[in-house]
C-alpha cells in the first residue's frame, strides 16, 4: 500500500440539542449548520467542495427518502458528487475519507441530521433488531441497555454509584456547553435518590431524545493550508461491527471498539481528550475501559450524549467536539467514538492530532 494522503478537519458546527426542533423540516434543520461551516472556511456552498456525504435514518421521523430532501439545502446546481449512508454521519465521514485517500476529492462536506422527536425512539429502534425473533417482541433499546447494565452490576464491574458519577460529570461538563440539552450541578447521592426508571437504569442514565444536525468540512492537509485554515489532523479512523446476537457478545466489554481503536492507531500516543458516544451511563464506562483511557484523559468534556443526543449526527459531533478542543489548544491529541446498533454493536474510532 502506498502512503495515504493526510486528512485535515477544518470546520465543524452543530445545532443545539433540542427536545423538539418544532416546525423545522430537514432542509431547515440542515441549512444553518451548512451555512456555519461554509462561513468558517469562506466557501459559498457545496459547489466549493469536491464531495458531499450525509448520514440519516428515515425511520426516525417516519418519512422515506429524508436525505433526498436534504439535497435541497446544498445548492447542488450544477450537480455535485454526493452520497449518503443510512447510518450516523460519522460513517459518512468515513466514506468521505476514502474518497480523499483515493484522490477523487481534495475536500468534503459531511453532515448528519435527524428529528427523533416525532416518533417513540426506543420503539422505533426496536425494529433495528432481528426481524424474526426480537423485533416482533418490540424489545426497546432502553431495555436492552438495562440488561447490559445489570450484567455489569452483577459481575461487580460497576456500581450504581459509578453510573451516577458518569451522569454527574456529564451534567457538570455540559454547563459550559451552550448546545447541551441537560446540564447542571448535581451529586451522586441526589442521583441515587431518584427512583429507577427501567431498573437498574434511572432516567438520568439514559440520553435524552434530541433533534438537530451537525456538519463538518474536511480536506487534504494541502487544501487546508491553501484555505489558510487552522486544522486538525485526522490521523486515523476505523470501525468494526460485532454479532447481532446480544447474548453471544460479552456485553460488559466492547471488543469492536478496541479493535477499531487499534486499527485507527490510537495507541501510538497519549490521549488528552475523548468524546465517546455512550447513550447510557454504564456504556461510557465500558467504552473508557475498552479504550484503556486513564486519569490523563478528559472524557466527554462536552457532557457527551447524556447531555443531548442528535441521533445520526452524534457520532460526527463527537469528532467535531474533539476537533474544537484541539483547535482551541486545549488538547494535543484526542479520540472520538461513534456507535450504532443495540448495546454498542458497531463502533467507530477516530484519532485526531494537532497539526
Amino acid at each position: 500500500m502506498s502512503a495515504q494522503r493526510e486528512i485535515a478537519i477544518v470546520a465543524f458546527h452543530q445545532s443545539p440539542c433540542q427536545a423538539s426542533a418544532g416546525a423545522a423540516n430537514e432542509v431547515e434543520l440542515i441549512m444553518p449548520e451548512l451555512r456555519a461551516v461554509f462561513d468558517q472556511v469562506g466557501l459559498a456552498n457545496a459547489q466549493d467542495v469536491d464531495f458531499v456525504c450525509s448520514g440519516s435514518c428515515d425511520y426516525l421521523q417516519g418519512a422515506a427518502f429524508a436525505f433526498v430532501a436534504g439535497v435541497d439545502a446544498l445548492g447542488a446546481v450544477p450537480p455535485i458528487r454526493e452520497s449518503h449512508v443510512e447510518m450516523d454521519a460519522a460513517w459518512a465521514l468515513y466514506e468521505a475519507v476514502l474518497k480523499i485517500r483515493m484522490g477523487h476529492a481534495d475536500s468534503a462536506l459531511i453532515y448528519g441530521f435527524a428529528k427523533s422527536s416525532p416518533g417513540e425512539l426506543p420503539i422505533v429502534l426496536s425494529q433495528q433488531l432481528d426481524p424474526y425473533y426480537l423485533a416482533p417482541l418490540w424489545v426497546d433499546t432502553v431495555s436492552l441497555a438495562a440488561l447490559q447494565a445489570r450484567l455489569m452490576l452483577d459481575a461487580g464491574l460497576i456500581t450504581e454509584g459509578d453510573m451516577a458519577e458518569v451522569v454527574k460529570r456529564s451534567r457538570r461538563n455540559a454547563m459550559t456547553n451552550p448546545l447541551a440539552q441537560l446540564a447542571g450541578e448535581t451529586s451522586v447521592a441526589d442521583l441515587l435518590a431518584k427512583p429507577h426508571y427501567l431498573s437498574p437504569l434511572r432516567r438520568h442514565d439514559c440520553c435524552p431524545v434530541s433533534d438537530g444536525a451537525a456538519a463538518m468540512i474536511i480536506a487534504t492537509v494541502e487544501q487546508a493550508k491553501a484555505w489558510g485554515m487552522p486544522y486538525v489532523r485526522l490521523s486515523g479512523i476505523d470501525h468494526r461491527i460485532e454479532s447481532h446476537n446480544l447474548c453471544l457478545r460479552d456485553l460488559t466489554d466492547s471488543v469492536s471498539t478496541r479493535k477499531a481503536a487499534a486499527a485507527a492507531g490510537m495507541n501510538a500516543g497519549a490521549v488528552d481528550v475523548a468524546e465517546l458516544y455512550a447513550p447510557f451511563s454504564h456504556q461510557e464506562i465500558i467504552l473508557s475501559r475498552a479504550l484503556g483511557l486513564g486519569e490523563d484523559t478528559r472524557v466527554n468534556p462536552s457532557g457527551g450524549v447524556l447531555a443531548g443526543n442528535l441521533m445520526m449526527a452524534s457520532g460526527l459531533s463527537r469528532i467535531g467536539e474533539v476537533f474544537q478542543r484541539i483547535v482551541a489548544g486545549e488538547a494535543g491529541r484526542g479520540v472520538a467514538h461513534a456507535t450504532n446498533g443495540p448495546c454498542l454493536q458497531q463502533n467507530l474510532v477516530a484519532v485526531l492530532e494537532a497539526a
Binding site: G22, A23, G62, P118, E120, P122, I123, S126, P131, Y132, Y133, L134, P136, L137, W138, V139, D140, S143, L144, A146, L147, Q148, A149, R150, L151, D154, H196, Y197, L198, S199, P200, L201, S243, N245, L246, C247, L248
Partner: protein
C-alpha cells in the same frame, strides 16, 4: 423569518410485512407451534437458542438442531415499570436474558412477575405458552418464575 403556527398532526406509518422465514427460523417456529423449543449447534459446539442461520464466528451455515428445555436461568433482567403500548405485556414486567436448560447461549424474552422484588439474576423461569400457538416468537407468551428455589 416570520414564524407561523406550527402545523402538527398524528400520523401512523404502518404496514403488515409478510416475512418468509427460510429453513432455520421456519423449523424453530414450527417447533414453537408444537410447544417445543429447538436450538442450533454452532461451529464451536455451543447450542444457540433461538437458532441462528449462520455461525457468528465462521459464518458457516448451521443446520444441526438440538431440542432444549422449557425452563432456564435468568442471566440478566430489567424491570419495565411502565410498559409501552407496543410491548407484549401491559402489566409491569421484566425483559430478561434466559439461558434455557440444554442451551449454551441465552435468549431475550419477557417474564411476567408480580413485582420487581420477585426477580433476581439466577432465578429459574419456565415458558408460559400462548393459548393458540401459531408459529411465531410470541408463541412463548412469556416466561414465569418456575417456583423452584435456585
Amino acid at each position: 423569518m416570520t414564524d407561523v403556527d406550527v402545523l402538527s398532526e398524528a400520523f401512523e406509518l404502518g404496514f403488515t410485512y409478510t416475512r418468509s422465514t427460510g429453513p432455520v427460523m421456519g423449523r424453530f417456529l414450527t417447533a414453537l407451534r408444537d410447544k417445543r423449543i429447538e436450538g442450533i449447534r454452532a461451529s464451536d459446539g455451543r447450542v444457540i437458542v433461538p437458532p441462528m442461520e449462520y455461525d457468528p464466528e465462521t459464518a458457516a451455515a448451521l443446520d444441526e438442531f438440538v431440542e432444549v428445555g422449557q425452563e432456564g436461568e435468568v442471566m440478566s433482567w430489567c424491570w419495565v415499570s411502565e410498559p409501552r403500548r407496543a410491548h407484549p405485556l401491559q402489566q409491569p414486567f421484566a425483559w430478561a436474558m434466559i439461558k434455557l436448560d440444554g442451551a449454551d447461549v441465552a435468549m431475550i424474552h419477557c417474564i411476567a412477575a408480580t413485582d420487581e422484588a420477585a426477580l433476581h439474576t439466577g432465578a429459574r423461569v419456565k415458558v408460559r405458552w400462548a393459548d393458540e400457538p401459531r408459529g411465531h416468537i410470541s408463541d412463548i407468551a412469556c416466561f414465569e418464575l418456575a417456583g423452584v428455589a435456585p
